[in-house]
């Protein structure tokens, strides 16, 4: 009876964070190396793992997130295997090697607690995008997991002065050294209700990459869980 399901057994652990399939993240937890994960993203765990919602460290750093509803991160500690997922979104695992990445808050799934991170508001854009675009900048040596609705694409900004424009709803992550600007298509017609639908974009320039998902659904599913 088990045979059709046997293929889905977890593979042996080879790294701290691994994909199980495309949509699931497997984290090998160990005492001493804690993990921050999105609240509500845990789908299963083996071993002894404790969860601390709204941890003080997060409260310090992510003060800006605090709009009365608590930080969307929980601290996980203990020993065992932890499985995380976000409503079937694709999971991308990144091993930061001293470099950094800026992640849209809704696309961040988990990251090592020892990484340096901070929350910043994307300048010039908060006025435009309804959800108020917050991003988390993470640097250091360790693991980060992102989610993406559909298989993402990575675009090189190429250096130079040319700008790459991204729909903020489809943006997942970008290199922190890129220059970010909000761009508004100033067209009279876009103001009278007949816009092209692409009135606001974010413009990136500099050397680095931008990660974009093939979906413009940026709602935070995990927050609706209440």
């Amino acid at each position: 009876m088990n045979q059709p399901l046997a293929g889905y057994a977890p593979a042996p652990v080879t790294a701290r964070m691994e994909n199980h399939g495309n949509n699931m993240l497997k984290v090998a937890m160990q005492t001493g190396s804690d993990l921050f994960a999105r609240v509500g993203s845990m789908i299963a765990y083996e071993g002894f793992i404790q969860y601390e919602p709204n941890p003080p460290a997060v409260r310090q750093i992510a003060r800006d997130w605090m709009t009365g509803e608590g930080a969307p991160l929980m601290k996980c500690s203990g020993d065992g295997l932890l499985y995380l997922a976000d409503y079937g979104a694709d999971v991308v695992v990144i091993n930061l090697n001293g470099d950094g990445i800026s992640v849209n808050a809704t696309n961040l799934l988990a990251f090592d607690a020892h990484l340096t991170w901070g929350v910043e508001r994307v300048k010039g854009l908060a006025k435009f995008a309804g959800q108020g675009l917050w991003n988390t900048k993470i640097t250091g040596q360790g693991w980060v997991a992102l989610t993406s609705r559909g298989k993402p694409i990575v675009v090189d900004c190429g250096g130079g002065e040319d700008e790459t424009y991204v729909d903020p709803d489809a943006l997942v992550a970008w290199s922190p050294n890129l220059k970010v600007k909000g761009k508004r298509s100033f067209k009279a017609q876009s103001l009278i209700g007949r816009g092209s639908g692409e009135a606001y974009q974010m413009a990136f320039s500099g050397t680095g990459i931008v990660v974009v998902q093939p979906s413009e659904d940026s709602t935070d599913r995990l927050r609706f869980r209440g």
């Binding site: 001293g98 090189d156 298509s185 092209s196 680095g208 990459i209 990660v211």
Partner: protein
């Protein structure tokens, strides 16, 4: 997505891929059967006038190495590398054949395929199974043939007589040395232990047995055969891996390129730095020589066939200029010395942009890139479908036209389009739906209006209305496209393409597109489906299609 071929289908290679350096993989297996897979290089009379162009396990390459036998890998029972522009002019046809070695007949084979991989992407696949054959013992699976340009044909025809009949057909005589080959190969399966080890994971070819670091990068460079130096008498390699690779070992095709090549778009537009011989597929995914983030659009995904991660013997490191598109000149070719080291870029390597010089490029199943600089005409896209663009692109409002307005008035929902003009690349996607660029060359297709994502402005289209009692909104709106250009159709999930038969019905909510020659009849209340989904009135409308054979409909697994 690879283009699927049926028996008898033909296509220009240039429509499938821009490359001329092709990987041809054949998978043919059967319980207890062994096969010899070979390639015949035939002259204009379809004769094997030159024995040296009979490429098989005993003669793994043609004299100038335009045809090479690579052995089993990546789920293929046998694979070839074909460099079309190096094939000498007297060779007009390459026939890929499989002959049974030992007892058995072709009707016993398991489902198999012939596939063409170029640039690390599978571009064509002809699948076959035992039901297409009877007592044949030798089959011609597919041909590359020269008719003005190189073309590919899915043949699937066989001979009862086995290899000898095949040779006779090609005008070769069965020389004494050649006939014993089946016998010779059979008792010699000594490599069977080694072969499965490397066969299953396409990329698992360990670095250790890196085949003889040949300074000259041609044959051994990227074929990871278990034997270090494929000596001519290392024949057994052919049998050993033939059975083990199960269907599960076929590597995923990775981000899919636009299967519909654009013959009009001249490939000269690609950067001059990209010389034809090494197509992108042969590049090493991790490109250890690349400083930091790989230059430019790096190598998108590990190519299915040519895995061999580290230690590349100098073959196919793409010059940084690779993948430049004209509009952007050098900007993307510059190796960015960004401070992000191996970490981020290595993790994201597989999601890199797919480079091609075509107007429409499918980046992955759900994302399409259109290069407005190629072709120079605007694109109409559903509003809000742009996720990213580079270059100078202008987005303007585009009404759905007069007919569309009528539709809009009727339904209260006008199809909202935007016109993208300028120079640059626009990436289009919507709600993680699967996208399918369909290239029209003078033919016509009807697409349900909800499933249109974008199309070339050069296409003519009209909105049609299929009325029927019970259709939500009063009628089903379809857009009929005609002309020359590409239209991107979106589907929720993997669609199915059905041939139109006298009894072809489809749910009006699930049908996506159909060939314009098919006639649609609304057959209301054929079936009662109460509460199939919330808000349904309880009766569903089916559409019946009537058409001459050869027409098709496309249906998605999603009914809202």
């Amino acid at each position: 997505m690879a283009r699927e071929f049926q028996r008898g289908h033909k296509a220009k290679i240039s429509d499938l891929t821009a490359g001329t350096d092709l990987y041809v993989g054949v998978q043919i297996t059967g319980p207890g059967l062994t096969f010899d897979i070979s390639c015949f290089g035939l002259d204009a009379e379809e004769r094997l006038s030159d024995d040296r162009y009979f490429v098989f396990f005993n003669q793994p390459k043609s004299p100038e190495e335009s045809i090479q036998l690579l052995g089993a890998q990546a789920g293929d029972s046998e694979s070839f590398r074909v460099t079309l522009d190096r094939i000498p002019p007297q060779i007009h046809k390459l026939a890929f054949t499989a002959t049974l070695d030992g007892a058995g007949q072709m009707s016993q084979i398991a489902p198999g395929y012939v596939r063409i991989v170029a640039g690390g992407e599978e571009v064509a696949r002809y699948s076959f199974n035992g039901s297409e054959f009877t007592t044949e013992r030798a089959v011609m699976l597919g041909d590359f043939y020269l008719k003005d340009v190189w073309r590919f044909a899915a043949v699937g025809q066989g001979f009862d007589g086995g290899l000898e009949a095949l040779l006779k057909n090609f005008g070769g005589e069965v020389a004494e040395e050649e006939t014993p080959e089946p016998q010779q190969s059979q008792p010699a399966p000594p490599q069977s232990g080694a072969a499965p080890g490397f066969a299953p994971p396409a990329f698992g070819a360990p670095a250790a047995p890196a085949p003889a670091p040949a300074p000259q990068p041609v044959p051994q460079g990227y074929a990871p055969p278990p034997v270090p130096v494929p000596s001519v008498h290392a024949a057994p390699t052919i049998i050993a891996p033939m059975t083990p690779p199960g269907p599960g070992t076929v590597p995923p095709p990775g981000p899919v390129p636009a299967p519909y090549g654009q013959p009009q778009a001249p490939y000269g537009q690609q950067a001059p730095g990209q010389s034809p011989p090494p197509p992108p597929g042969y590049a090493q995914p991790q490109a250890p020589h690349a400083p930091g983030p790989p230059p430019g659009y790096g190598q998108p995904t590990p190519p299915p066939g040519y895995g061999q991660p580290p230690a590349p013997p100098g073959y196919g490191q793409q010059p940084p200029a690779f993948g430049q598109v004209p509009g952007q000149a050098a900007a993307y070719g510059v190796p960015s010395g960004a401070p992000q080291g191996a970490g981020v870029s290595a993790a994201l390597e597989k999601f890199k942009e797919t480079p091609t010089g075509q107007r429409w490029t499918q980046q992955n199943k759900k994302l399409v890139r259109v290069d407005l600089g190629i072709g120079g005409q605007p694109v109409l896209a559903r509003q809000g479908s742009m996720v990213l663009y580079q270059g100078k692109v202008d987005f303007g409002y585009k009404g759905a036209g007069f007919a569309g307005r009528i539709v809009g008035n009727a339904t209260g929902q006008e199809m909202q389009l935007m016109r993208c003009t300028g120079q640059g690349q626009v990436f289009l996607a919507e709600h993680s739906t699967n996208l399918h660029p369909v290239e029209l060359q003078g033919d016509a297709i009807c697409v349900s209006a909800e499933n249109v994502l974008a199309f070339d402005e050069s296409l003519q289209y009209e909105v049609r209305r299929i009325e029927g009692h019970g259709i939500p909104g009063g009628a089903l709106f379809t857009m009929q496209f005609q002309g020359t250009g590409t239209i991107v159709v979106k589907t929720h999930g993997e669609p199915v393409v059905l041939p139109v038969t006298p009894t072809t019905f489809a749910d009006c909510n699930a049908v996506v597109a159909w060939s314009a020659a098919a006639q649609v009849i609304v057959s209301s209340q054929v079936r009662m489906r109460r509460n199939a989904y919330p808000g349904d009135t309880g009766e569903s409308v089916n559409l019946q299609f009537r058409a001459a054979p050869g027409n098709f409909i496309v249906v998605q697994p999603y009914e809202v």
